[in-house]
Every structure is written in structure tokens, then in C-alpha cells.
């Protein structure tokens, strides 16, 4: 296979993935992933019918006819749900299977007359696109699929840009959208139409599987990585394109379906994002817990040192002694020390490790937080004084200045905690 052909194939896949990923982001956000799945299955019936009726592969009638089946599917799902009172997920299942079955029936029955077969439907003929060329006045313009998909991508981008505000409002805050005169229904069907058209365009080159995967997986991946819509859209398209490129080469490696390989790649990228995500992924969460442990250890270290300074016991001399005093794991203790040194809280004085002035202030702030929280729990929440120490131990790391200020106001500026100890001041409160 020569370089140019490879390029065309990858480009086709990338364009299809990009369009689907762009629109799919909205589907994922609106919890309509499976309606997207239903639409892409339903357009098959439209494509088969269009081929059968028009007897040709001329783009426009096929496009319009097939896309309309996608919109019809969305309408049918709505009416099954609202008029016949069928559960929403069941409505989706009923509509897409019926339409898809119809499409398959048409194809298998009129196999000779239609230029499609069942497998093609599933994973497309992307390998043939380089040779299905578009010619205009005798000039070779490149594969038909590339032009079609490029055009569709342009339309999709245009739609997203033009309707950016409306789409965002209708997806996140339908009530506000209505009050601003934006019809949620109109936006919904504009989106469904765009999805239909895109899936029809992508269908022929990459088949049903890839379309469904690209509608959902890149959007979901982006959703794990960011909270900002613009970033999500860009990331989603990026994941889609990356899946296309990497997938192509994997297919060559495994000697199998290109569309299938692209799908697996998308899945792999999602899995990566999922595992590494600090909030949701196993690896990410473990890493996060580890870092949290370091923070606890660092704070604890400061408090220990400051208590020693207060009570005038033997000051800690060596690094080893300091590390031994920590009740975190050895590695975390090391990192904790590094963190404190970097923050300027711990420094060397005559070969010993001691608190710097900044460190002393940080320790006082922690202690203040601890005792404030104990007082709050005891007086305002009504917890007995033997219940509050553990809770305060946990909370002291997370009380920022504002919260502490609020608590001080709340308890009316008391100076002693429930155990009779002084609540230190850091001097920052006065500045509020």
C-alpha cells in the first residue's frame, strides 16, 4: 500500500472520528449516549432504503433520505416514551432494533441490487476509499469519502460555533434556556439532525461500530479529564483523531478490521484516562491518597517540632530522628520533610533541623485550626469533649483562613478550647 493511499485512509478515519467525537460530547453531557447509538443504527435502514429506491449512490438523495431516518428514530423514541408511556430505555431499544432489523432485511434481500453487504454495514469499506475517487471535469480531486466527511465536519463545527451558547444552556440549564426564549426542543432536534447526518456520512466509510464508538467514547474520555466545555470539545476531537491514527497501525499489526482497531484504541484511551484520573481512577486515587498522606505527615511534623519547642524537651538533632518520629510510612515521611524544607518551614541551624519562623507560624495556624474546630464541635454542634479530638485531628488540615475566621465569629471569639488550652492567634484574623 503506497503512502498516499495510507494517508487517505487515515484521513477518512480521522475526519469521521472527529465529527462524531465533536457531536458526541454533547450526547454524553446530556445523558443521551444511547440515543446516539440508536440513531446510528437507525440510519442504516435509511441508507438501505435510499439505495433501494434511488438505485444509485448519488449523494444528495441518499444523504437526505438516510439522515431523515435518524431523526425519525429520535421522534419515535420520544413518542413511544411520551404517548405510549413506555420506559425511556425500553423505547430506545425497541426503536433502534426494529429499524436496524429492517435495514438488514433490505440489504440481505436485495443484495444484488444494493452495493452493500452486511459486514460492510458493520465496519465499512474504509480500505477502499482511496480508490473511490471524485472526479470533476476530468480532474482527480481525491477520494469521495474525504470530501464528504470533510464537508460534514465543517458543517458540524459551524453548528457548534453558531449555537454554542444555546447548546450549552439547553444542556446544563434547560429552565434558563426556556426563560431566554431558547427552545430546548429545537436545540434537541438540531442536534439529532446533525448526529444523523454525520453518522450517514461516516457509515459508508467506517461502518456502524466505529460511528457508535466515536459518538460516545471520546466524549466520555474528555469528560473525565476536564470540567470546561470548550476544553472538553477539543479533547474529545483529539481523542477521536488519535484513535483513528493509532488504530490504523494496530489493524495492520493484527491483520484485521481497521474500524474495529480504531474502536479498541478509543477504548484504550478511555481506560487510560479512567485509571489515571485522580478522582475516579484506581491508580489516580492511590496516587492521590499517597500525596494526602504526605501532607498529613508534613503538618504533623511541624506540630511535633513546635510542641517540643514549647515544652523545651531535647530538640531534634538529626534527620533520622525527625523521620523516626513520624507515624507515616518511610517514603511519605521523606517527602514530607522535603515539602517542609521547600516551603521554608524547616531549616538547618548548627547541624540540627528546626522550625524556621515561617514554620512556627504554620504550626501555630494548624494548632489554632485544631482547637477552633474542637470548640466549634463542642459548643455549636453539641458534641461531648471526649468525641472531638479525633475529629479535629482530621479537620485541622483543611481549615483555610476564611473558614477559621467564620468559626471565630461563630464561637464569639473565645480564647480557650474545651480542654482549657489557649487557642493561639496567628495575627491574620485582625486583617479581616
Amino acid at each position: 500500500m503506497d503512502q498516499l493511499a495510507t494517508f487517505w485512509i487515515i484521513l477518512t478515519g480521522a475526519l469521521a472520528s472527529a465529527s462524531c467525537a465533536l457531536l458526541g460530547t454533547y450526547l454524553v453531557l446530556r445523558k443521551m449516549s444511547l440515543i446516539g447509538d440508536a440513531i446510528s443504527h437507525s440510519v442504516l435502514a435509511g441508507i438501505a432504503m435510499a439505495y433501494w429506491l434511488s438505485g444509485s449512490r448519488s449523494i444528495l438523495p441518499m444523504f437526505i433520505g438516510a439522515s431523515s431516518f435518524g431523526v425519525i428514530a429520535a421522534l419515535l423514541i420520544e413518542s413511544l416514551n411520551k404517548k405510549w408511556r413506555i420506559y425511556e430505555d425500553a423505547s430506545i431499544g425497541i426503536v433502534f432494533t426494529a429499524l436496524f432489523a429492517f435495514g438488514v432485511l433490505l440489504i440481505s434481500n436485495f443484495a444484488g441490487q444494493i452495493d452493500l453487504d452486511q459486514e460492510c454495514v458493520l465496519y465499512g469499506e474504509i480500505a477502499y476509499t482511496p480508490w473511490d475517487l471524485l472526479a470533476f471535469k476530468g480532474v482527480n480531486l481525491g477520494p469521495r469519502a474525504v470530501w464528504l466527511l470533510g464537508f460534514v465536519l465543517l458543517l458540524d463545527v459551524l453548528m457548534v460555533v453558531l449555537f454554542y451558547k444555546e447548546l450549552m444552556l439547553a444542556s446544563f440549564d434547560p429552565a434558563m434556556a426556556v426563560s431566554l426564549g431558547i427552545s430546548s426542543t429545537a436545540i434537541h432536534y438540531i442536534l439529532m439532525t446533525a448526529v444523523s447526518m454525520t453518522t450517514v456520512a461516516a457509515f459508508e466509510s467506517v461502518g456502524a461500530i466505529l460511528v457508535v464508538a466515536m459518538l460516545i467514547v471520546p466524549g466520555a474520555t474528555a469528560y473525565l479529564l476536564t470540567d470546561r466545555l470548550k476544553v472538553m470539545l477539543v479533547l474529545s476531537v483529539a481523542v477521536g483523531v488519535a484513535s483513528a491514527v493509532i488504530g490504523y497501525y494496530l489493524a495492520g499489526l493484527w491483520d484485521s478490521s481497521i474500524a474495529g482497531a480504531m474502536t479498541i484504541t478509543a477504548g484504550g484511551l478511555f481506560a487510560l484516562a479512567f485509571l489515571l484520573s485522580p478522582k475516579y481512577g484506581i491508580l489516580g486515587k492511590s496516587l492521590h491518597q499517597f500525596k494526602l498522606g504526605i501532607r498529613y505527615a508534613a503538618d504533623h511534623m511541624l506540630l511535633t517540632l513546635s510542641r517540643e519547642a514549647e515544652s523545651q524537651t531535647i530538640p531534634v538533632r538529626s534527620r533520622r530522628q525527625l523521620l523516626a518520629l513520624s507515624n507515616a510510612t518511610a517514603i511519605q515521611a521523606r517527602f514530607a520533610l522535603m515539602q517542609n524544607v521547600r516551603a521554608g518551614f524547616i531549616g538547618r541551624a548548627n547541624g540540627d533541623l528546626t522550625l524556621t519562623d515561617a514554620g512556627k507560624r504554620a504550626a501555630i495556624s494548624l494548632l489554632q485550626g485544631h482547637r477552633l474546630w474542637e470548640t466549634f464541635l463542642n459548643e455549636k454542634v453539641g458534641l461531648p469533649s471526649d468525641h472531638i479530638h479525633e475529629a479535629a485531628n482530621r479537620m485541622e488540615h483543611f481549615l483555610d483562613e476564611r473558614l477559621k475566621h467564620d468559626i471565630i465569629e461563630e464561637i464569639g471569639g473565645r480564647r480557650k478550647d474545651p480542654h482549657g488550652k489557649d487557642i493561639p492567634e496567628t495575627g491574620d484574623e485582625a486583617s479581616r
Partner: protein, 256 residues
Amino acid sequence: MKIEKANDIPLEIHDMTIAYHKKPVLWDVDLIVPEGKLVGIVGPNGAGKSTLIKAVMGLIPKASGWIKVYGKPYEEMRSWVGYVPQRESVDWDFPINVREVVLMGLYGKIGWVKRPDKAHVRIAEESLERVDMQAFAKRQISQLSGGQQQRVFLARALAQDSQIYLMDEPFSGVDAATEKAIIQLLGELRSRGKTVLVVHHDLQTIPNYFDWVIMLNMRIVATGPVSQVFTNENLHRTYGGKLTILSEAAEAVSRT
């Protein structure tokens, strides 16, 4: 009631904290409910009222603390506790009729695989009579009004013949006739020595309907006889909105 009780305290909760996705929603709950009382549980929305009774029944995991029913763990004393969930918690379009729902209260006694026998059916019908729904026994539940649905749930709990009843918002969205019927029923239960805890949203009616109250907002503000505890000061503390600190702190913890 096959299991014997260990003491005479229907419900005792000690130091119970519930967290949802690491965010604490109920802090250090400590309370004792005496026998034979009608107990109203009040607090603002999201304060943890439903959470409290669901946690008692083990439907929500606890982050700390324990619960005892008549001196023994809840798991041993299940048959002593009857439950009336919120009406919204089921799909009323389900293909089932009123009597079949009430019979569900007896599944614990009927056991695995066996079908309800005539005696069970009679208990179900008696329960329906106590809520004045016997005429609806064969009616499909989607054809019932809100008040009627609530009564079906009550009948199911009555069929359980428990000593303690936990009810989640039984008065919400019901018509006046149903409200009266429920009050009457609660009075009957109390006169038989049962203890009933009711999550309630209407502060006006607390002094009329209940003799004991639990006021909570992420933690117990006050609990005790209505006449002593249901004061303006306590109401202020429960609904006063000064809970921002606890909510903020809970947020801070959940973000870690």
C-alpha cells in the same frame, strides 16, 4: 416475634456518622427513643432525616457508630421493625395489585419459595381494612390516588405486625381524608404500645400529631418530648441556616 428482646429501649443510636462519597451528611448522632411514643423527625431539606432511618435499617452504610433495637443489633431484630418508604421510591406503573403489595409485608414470615396461604391473605385483607382500602384489593396500583398509594404502603407495614415502625414522609402529598386516617392509625399503634418514628415536613402539625420529636440538621439539634424540646430557640438552631460552617467543612473533606 421469634427473637427475644434484651431491654426495653426500642431504638438506641450511639455516635453514628454517615458519609456519602466521603462527604459527611450526619455527624455523631447519639439518641435514645423511649417506648410507646409517636416521634416526629424534622429538619430542613437535605438535613439527613431519610438518611437517619435508612441507616438504622442498614440500607445505607455507616462510617462509625452502632444501633441497637431493644438492646440487640438491628440485623437480629428485623422482624420487630416495620418500614414505610417514601412514595416516590417505587414505580407505581408496576404490574401488581394492591393486595399483592400488602402481602409483601409477610414475605419475611412466609419465607423462600413458598406462596402465601389463606391465613396470610386474611392478614393482608385485615390490614387493608384498617386503612379503609379493602375495596381496592384487586386494583392495579397505578390507578390509585396519592393518598390511596400511601395507605397501601401503610397496610403493608401493618401486615408486618412490628413493634417499631419507621415511616418516611407518610403525610406528604396526601388528601385530608388520608391524613386523618393516618393520624388515627398512629394513635391506634401507640395505644397498643408500639413506637413510631415519622419523618415529617410540616412543622405546624408537630405538636398536634407527635409527643416526641427529633430535630436534626446534619447533626442532632435536640430530641425529647415535644412540649419541652419543640421551642423557638431549637427551631432557630435547626432551620437557622448557621450550618454553613459544617457544610463548608464537609465540602473541604470531600474535596480531598
